[in-house]
């Protein structure tokens, strides 16, 4: 069977980075959702989804991004998207999510932009 999506998770001092490469659709979405609890996110940290290698994302994929957002908020952490591809930007515009997720050009930029909570 062709593997449509690869998922790589790494932990940094500032939180977790999940790299998604391939197609994020109703076949592959459950895999990403299942990986969220394992990202080891702590309160005040930031979860970065690196989408540089994402070639396709449908509504199930959007669900996963929203699930990741809910997951981060439940952990009192924040979320950011890195390297959002053009096709996903367009979907974000259609579904009205372009201002819901903070976005950065690269995962590095997302980490650099992260500020520890002031409280």
């Amino acid at each position: 069977m062709i593997r449509h999506l690869t998922l790589r998770t790494r932990t940094t001092a500032k939180g977790a980075v999940i790299e998604l490469t391939g197609e994020l659709d109703h076949r592959t979405a459950p895999e990403v959702r299942a990986a969220l609890p394992g990202a080891g996110l702590e309160a005040g940290q930031q979860l970065v989804l690196d989408l540089a290698g994402l070639t396709f994302c449908d509504s199930s994929g959007i669900t996963v991004l929203l699930a990741a957002r809910n997951h981060a908020r439940a952990a009192d952490a924040s979320i950011a998207l890195a390297a959002v591809p053009d096709h996903l930007q367009r979907i974000f515009r259609v579904v009205g999510l372009e201002h819901v997720f903070p976005t950065h050009p690269t995962a590095g930029a997302a980490e650099a932009a992260w500020q520890p909570p002031t409280s």
Binding site: S59, T63, L66, G96
Partner: protein, 422 residues
Amino acid sequence: MREAGGAAESGDRGEDRRPADEEALFSALLEDSAEELYEHAPCGYLTTLMDGQIVKVNSTLLDWLGYERGKLVGRKRFSELLTVGGRLYHETHFAPLLRMQGEISAIALELKTADGSRLPVMVTSRVKTGSDGQPLLIRTTILDARDRRAYEVELLRARQEADQERDRLKLLNSTLQKTLLPPALANVPGLDVAAYYHIASVEEVGGDFYDLFPLAAGTWGLFLGDVCGKGAAAAAVTSLARYTLRAAAVYDPDPAAVLTNLNTVLNHEYNGTDPRFCTVIFGLLTPDADRGGFRITLASGGHPPALLMRADGTADYLPTPGGQLIGVLPDADIATTTVHLAVGDTLLLHTDGLTEAHTNAGSEGRYGDDALLAFGRALAPTTASAVIGAVRDLLDTFGSGVDDDTAVLAVHVPRPTADEPR
């Protein structure tokens, strides 16, 4: 002794040459004749003339069948040993194949024994020809297949059961799908409407939905949307969304208010580790008394824009920028736009199953928004049934490239007929 000699020879050629006394021991053990081997082989042997008349049979088979040799040789044909159904099979399949191929192997049949019981067997036959190539005899080997048959019956039963389960699931899915779609669209005087739902997979119920229904005082509501995901969980959201939209439109028909209420309901129900959202366009149709045709106010909750194909042959999307998907954001923004549908105009609502379809099964390329716009421009001016027909044809050309359900709903203002002046 040919068989025994052969075995001993192959032993000789082995890496380890056996001592002479061991060889002698084997020879003694193998001191049986070919005749002995034939008679008591662990399988049945049978020889018949070309017409099936039994001319030779070994003891093993006689024992299995419970017949005296004299009852079979020269007295019965091979097919007479079969069950009646097996005999039909023999005449229509086995014998023709054997005649044409000279050989047939591993056919499952049942033999009738002398006491009337049945013996499942595997039958292999080969035609022996003379030096002139003429067929002379049929040699048949018969293996006891009781265990194997029991296993096969079990396999067959399991397969039939699986087939039945799959059919049941398909039926359940299509029934469920039907309950999510209106049995018929409301009749709106002065408006043609048409819709189509394309089911991508009968294995999983999809999450697209649409409806068109009367509201108070000569106004009509319509909606088309797409719940993310598939299967029973998505269907539950689809059902909730559908009924909420119908009820919310009665409560307050303002399209933005309808979607805001839907957003509130879905946010209560589905938001967490498995969030469920939908994208939807809701429209309020009002006959335009001054200009003729209809006025339609569309509210979009993150849904792909509607496509307006005008009477003058132009076509454009009706953008609703800023509208947000419904069900996961506490205060989703709803964007609205109002247009006038003049005589000859056609409005098409679609779900992204259409634009995200692979244009060829197995290809990477997807149809896309630009292609749909070009499609609308080529088609305009058109009618509701014509555009829905064209979309159906388009989906047909994609074949299995359509991997998500697709719903389309079209409304068209026809030229008024003479007895129905506007």
